[in-house]
Structures are given as structure tokens and as C-alpha cells.
Amino acid sequence: MTLKPLPSGSRLEGCTLSGALSVTTQVRDAVTVIHGPAGCAQHNLSLLHAITLENDTPDLPLLLSTDLDEGSVIFGGEEALAAAIREAAARDPPVVFVLSTCVVETIGDDTAAVCGRDWPVPVVHIPTAGFLGGVFRDGFHRALHAIAGCAGDRADGPGGVVLVGEKNLEYEVDVHGEEMRRLLAQLGARVDLRLVRGMEWDALHRLASSRLNVLREPDLAPLGDRCRERYGTPFMPGYPVGLAGTLLFLARAGNLLGVNPAEAVRREEEVQQELLSRFSDLLGSRIWNPSASGSGEDAQLVQELAAALDLQIDRHGTAVPLPDPLPVGTAGIRHLLHRWRRAIHG
């Protein structure tokens, strides 16, 4: 089988629109208006369709395309956008998101002005503009910032933990979310909000009373900073990776939550020891992964597991997989070690 190899670099990192859609389509009952030709919406719907089938989720989000054609491109598409927002609002959704494409950026439509009119439902404009607005990651961040900006003022209350910026297109996204729930539960904390995954718009206010925000990745730190400034909420900069990394996560999260983490860390150590004992048959195996020779987080994970299971890292060893993003928490390591065992003994 031939897969098209893609060189790396920001040029290839996908469309801003797709990044924003990966967030807005996770707000339940929301409508996302895509201001551009129908093809832009269709490309993304096709992607979401494939992912919803993989994740056994029952249905597709509603994307309304302004369906610009040659006439609209020549005469402007602002009225088409206004009509689409009207149509979206008539469905009485909790919120309408409006995403622009590179076509409307090129023809000079004032999307922000149309969104700023007096609409009967909240209309949130997320300037995406396809590749003219950056890459996938930019759209993803802009959508998260735009939604977080609607959370309202600081609210007092018991508050829980907010998971921020889950990768909704990731195959293991819910497995990772479940692991975060499990780890945080050991500290007596509950996940109050997933910003944004399957989120009810009405639940967004929980961001304002959050005790701790856990960011999916460190590059979401600007959003973590913004919430800390606005609501005084501390944040963890990323999900835990590796055995020691998971224990460290528990210790730091416990401190930020004002909970003594010692018992949770001790219990998790026991879980990890039990896990490693289940893979003792791998002892002495020779493994190889190209990441192993580096110094990044991926290399550290391979080296840590090799040390824990007494594996030899050897260029001529069995090629073992390492997913990108890296596995989360102790459960992620369990899944990874099953795949390694399959590779070694398979």
C-alpha cells in the first residue's frame, strides 16, 4: 500500500477552518456556519463523518455552508452570510459559530460586521480564513479562545477540574479523557467540563468556577494564562506522559487543588508496579524505535520503559510503535505495552 508521504513543516499543517471546526462541532446543538463555497464544508464534513464512524458516535454536527458560487464571488457574499445566520438562528440553537474561509478573505467580505448585527441567539465569529488565517493549530486555538471568552465572570462555587483543548480528531481522545478522569478522581477531584468535547453550551460557565484547568498540551499555555488572569484558576500545562510523569502530575495537581497527593501517588505507584509485572515476559527483549536516540519526551518515554522492563534499545531490535501524540497516563502505557508485546512476540 502506498500512503502519500508528507514532508513536515507549517506549510503542510492543514487548514485553519478544520482546526476551528474540530472545536466548534463539539458544542452540542450548536450550528456552525461556514462562509465559503460548499466544497470547504464538504471536505470537513467528510473528515468528521469518518471520525464519527470510527468513534461510534451516532450523528454529525450541523454545518451550514453559505455555498458561495461564481455569482457570490463576484458580487460579494455578505448577504448570503446574513441569510445563513438567519437560517441557523431560526433553529434556536444555544450558539451559532461563524467561520470564514480563504475565499471570503480574498474577496473582502466583512464577516465580523455581519456577525456583529443584532441576532436573536449568540453569534460567535471565529476568524479562520482557511490557510490565509494560518494553519490547523491556529484555527483550533482561536476557536478555544473564542469559546472560553464567552464563559462569563468569575463564579463562586464548589468547582471542579476543566480539561482544556482535547484533540477531538485523535483516535484515542476519549480513552485519554477517561484516564484523566481516573487520575483526578484519585485526588478526589471531578472533571466538571471538557472544553471542548461534547460540551453543552450552558455548561460553559463552569470554566469560570474551575479549581484547576488541565491543558492537553503545553502550547495551550496562553489560554491557561488567560483563564488564570481572569478567574484566578491555576493550570497544569499538559497531560501526563510516562510512569514518573504520571506520578509527578498527581503530585503537582494535588498541590494546586490543595489536596495532599501522597496517598494518590502511592496508589498509582502500586498500579504501575502491577502493570509492569504483567509485562515481565518482555524482560531482556531488544527493541528499537527511531525516537529512542533523541532527547525529547518521546525518547524519554522509550528509555524509561526500557529501564523499567529491562529492555535493550538496539538498532537491530524489534521495531516497536510510539504513537503521536504520546500515550497518556498509566493506562496509555498499558495500551502501548500491549502493542509492543504484539510486535516482539508477533
Partner: protein
């Protein structure tokens, strides 16, 4: 243009559009020409969708903002320089933004023989892009070329491989050679096509030569091979016609057995118009089926069935909710929004199922396969296993 302006003024939004744009259609057509390098001149966002559909290699300029402002010529030239020598020619497909900025890629740097296909997404649906690409390829027929061309082969279609094999088999059975395959060929053969063609999907623009008929459904296949005998002296349609009769008997036998226990299914059909109508013909002929709706992805031609163009999943869902068909022929979108109906896939996308074999929709085997799948799906549903 008048109609387009009226549409803009009516400003009807399209909810969950399901049909690919013209750019994807153009790329699909061109990617079937094996010695032609296909470059998508636009952003990575425009590249990735066709790249997931097409089986072959695709190139892209992956434009960034400065290249739109200051011109993408240098970037295009840099990409063209990386194209391997095994390609004899290069085609550049424009996307919405490069079409709007008016770039002319035809004379990029030292590259003087670029085939430019101006098919931005906003100019129409996939079939329109396919047509524009075929027009740019400008295939021609050579009266000296023996055999019969096949057209309507569409590399992104999961039935393309099966359709090709079945059409070649039937041609061989009638004593005719297969000439040029549109679009699954080389540049040389594109310009040495035979004077006559058969189509496995008449909704896609033909290549060169006179189109004799369609191979969708048994009725069309019979008519096409009878006509072929007149157009191509020396061919013998009898073996094909004999096989069609045998296929009809086999289908009639199992369909009759089905009808002894079950009512005919009410069916809703979605796909390109020609395959959808051909499927409706088969189902009404053999199963006395009630066709409750045909939603075509492209603009439909004339047929005895009422066909409405539908490219919005919301519209499709509304039809399915209203009609509550027993059986749906369509894509995985229709299956997703109405899982309670029996389902048979006939159009892209067909996600969530594995298909490894070369499954045809055209020709005799295509007709047999369709009826087999329909009857099995209906029986599974009746047994509560659908």
C-alpha cells in the same frame, strides 16, 4: 450567471453538503492519467481531501499567505522542479484562491507545457470539475484504433476497479478489444482513442469517440451491446446477450422467492443520477419495488422516475424521515442518518465498511451484485439483523 445571481439573492444555505467540489472532480479525472503529474495549486486544506480519495500520487503547492499576496509563481515552480522524471507532463489544478487571484500557471519558469485546469471549488460539483479536466485533456479518437473505449471510470469511485474489469470482460466476450479507458490510461492512449465508447457512468463526461451506450443495469447493457454490433462490425453481442438472459433468470428466481414471503421494499436511492436511475429500473423490474425518492448528487437528466437534485444531508434526512423507506441505496451518509433502513452502498463516501474486492456496479456482474446485496440486506433487516 443569471441563475447564480438569483441563487445568491435567495441566499439559501446548504446544510451539511455531501458532494465534493469541482476541484476534487478535476483531480479525480486527471489522477487517472498515469504519466501525468497532478499538482493542486492551493492550500494544504484543499490538498488533503482529494489526497484521501485518490489512490495515486498527488502533488501540492501548499500555499501560504505571502504567496497569495505576492504571487505563487515561484512556489509553483519550486514544486514543479521536484516532480519525478517518470511523469511525461504536468497538470496544475487551480483552487478557489488561485483562481480568484488570477494566477496563470501555464508558463511557470522553464515549464512550458503545463496543462492548466481552472476548476475552483466554487464553480460547481465534482462532475463539473471532471468535465473541465476532460475538456483540458482534449482526448481524440483515431479511426484506425481498434476496439471500444470505456468512459465514466472515476479513480475516487470504489466501484471503478470492478466496473473496469466487468466492462473489459464483456467487451472481450463480444470479441472487442478494450481501447482507451477514461480516466485510467496514459497520455499517448488519450490521443489515440477508438471511435466508439461505452460508459460505466454516463453522468461523467466522456472522453473521445461516439458514446454508444451505458453499462448500468441489464436493460442498458443489452441495448449497448446490440448497438455496439452496428457501430463496430465484427463484434458479436450474442454471448453477452445470452449471459444477460441467464442473469435475468437467476435474479427473477431469487426475487420471486423473496416476494413469496416479503412485501417489496420501499426504496430511496441517492447517488449520481444515472446509477441511481439504473438501480431504480432494476429494483422495479425484478422486485416490483416502490421507489419513494431518488436524490441525485448531480443535475439529473430525463427519466421515468422523479429525480431531485440533493446535496445537503439535511435535505436527505428530511426525505428519509418523511418516507421511512425499507431500503436505502446511497452512501454512508444516508446509512448514518437513517440506520433503521436496510442499506446498500452505491456512491461515495462508503466509510465504516471494508471493501477489498473489485466490486462492480456496471455490467452483468454489477447488476447481479446489486440485486444480491439488496436481497441480503432486506432479508437481514426482516430477521432483525440489519
Amino acid at each position: 450567471m443569471g441563475e447564480q445571481i438569483r441563487r445568491a439573492k435567495n441566499c439559501t444555505a446548504c446544510a451539511n453538503p455531501v458532494w465534493p467540489c469541482a476541484m476534487a472532480g478535476a483531480v479525480s479525472c486527471l489522477s487517472g492519467i498515469r504519466d501525468l503529474a497532478v499538482v493542486i495549486h492551493g492550500s494544504s486544506g484543499c490538498y488533503y481531501y482529494p489526497a484521501t480519495l485518490m489512490p495515486g500520487e498527488l502533488f501540492g503547492t501548499f500555499l501560504q499567505e505571502p504567496e497569495v499576496i505576492f504571487g505563487g509563481g515561484e512556489r509553483l515552480e519550486a514544486v514543479l522542479c521536484t516532480i519525478p522524471d517518470r511523469y511525461r507532463r504536468i497538470a496544475v489544478v487551480t483552487t478557489c484562491v488561485t483562481a480568484l487571484t488570477g494566477e496563470d500557471p501555464s508558463g511557470t519558469g522553464t515549464f512550458r507545457d503545463i496543462l492548466v485546469v481552472d476548476s475552483p471549488g466554487f464553480c460547481g460539483g465534482m462532475e463539473e470539475g471532471y468535465r473541465l479536466a476532460m475538456e483540458a485533456l482534449a482526448p481524440c479518437a483515431d479511426p484506425e484504433t481498434p476496439g471500444v473505449n470505456l468512459d465514466g471510470l472515476h479513480p475516487a469511485d470504489s466501484f471503478a476497479r470492478g466496473n473496469r474489469r466487468e466492462a473489459e470482460r464483456l467487451l472481450a466476450l463480444s470479441g472487442a478489444a478494450t481501447a482507451t479507458l477514461f480516466s485510467d490510461t496514459t497520455l499517448d492512449r488519450l490521443h489515440r482513442a477508438a471511435p466508439s465508447s461505452l460508459s460505466v457512468n454516463p453522468d461523467l463526461a466522456g472522453g473521445a469517440g461516439q458514446r454508444i451506450g451505458s453499462l448500468l443495469g441489464l436493460r442498458n447493457t443489452r441495448a449497448s451491446f446490440e448497438a455496439l454490433a452496428d457501430a463496430c462490425p465484427g463484434t458479436d453481442p450474442d454471448p453477452v446477450l445470452r449471459e444477460i438472459r441467464q442473469a435475468e433468470e437467476r435474479i427473477a428466481y431469487v426475487a420471486d422467492k423473496f416476494l413469496r414471503r416479503h412485501d417489496p421494499p420501499a426504496v430511496a436511492i441517492f447517488g449520481m443520477a444515472a446509477p441511481a436511475v439504473a438501480a431504480a429500473e432494476m429494483l422495479t423490474t425484478f422486485l416490483d419495488t416502490q421507489v419513494v425518492a431518488i436524490g441525485s448528487r448531480n443535475r439529473p437528466g430525463l427519466s421515468r422516475f422523479p429525480v431531485t437534485q440533493m446535496t445537503s444531508l439535511q435535505e436527505i434526512r428530511a426525505v428519509l424521515d418523511r418516507e421511512q423507506p425499507d431500503l436505502i441505496l446511497g452512501s454512508s451518509y444516508e446509512r448514518m442518518v437513517h440506520p433503521q433502513s436496510a442499506f446498500v452502498g452505491i456512491t461515495l463516501p462508503l466509510r465504516g465498511r471494508i471493501q477489498l474486492r473489485a466490486r462492480p456496479l456496471a455490467g452483468i456482474e454489477g447488476a447481479l451484485d446489486l440485486m444480491e446485496q439488496v436481497l441480503n440486506a432486506c432479508m437481514d433487516r426482516a430477521r432483525g439483523r440489519g
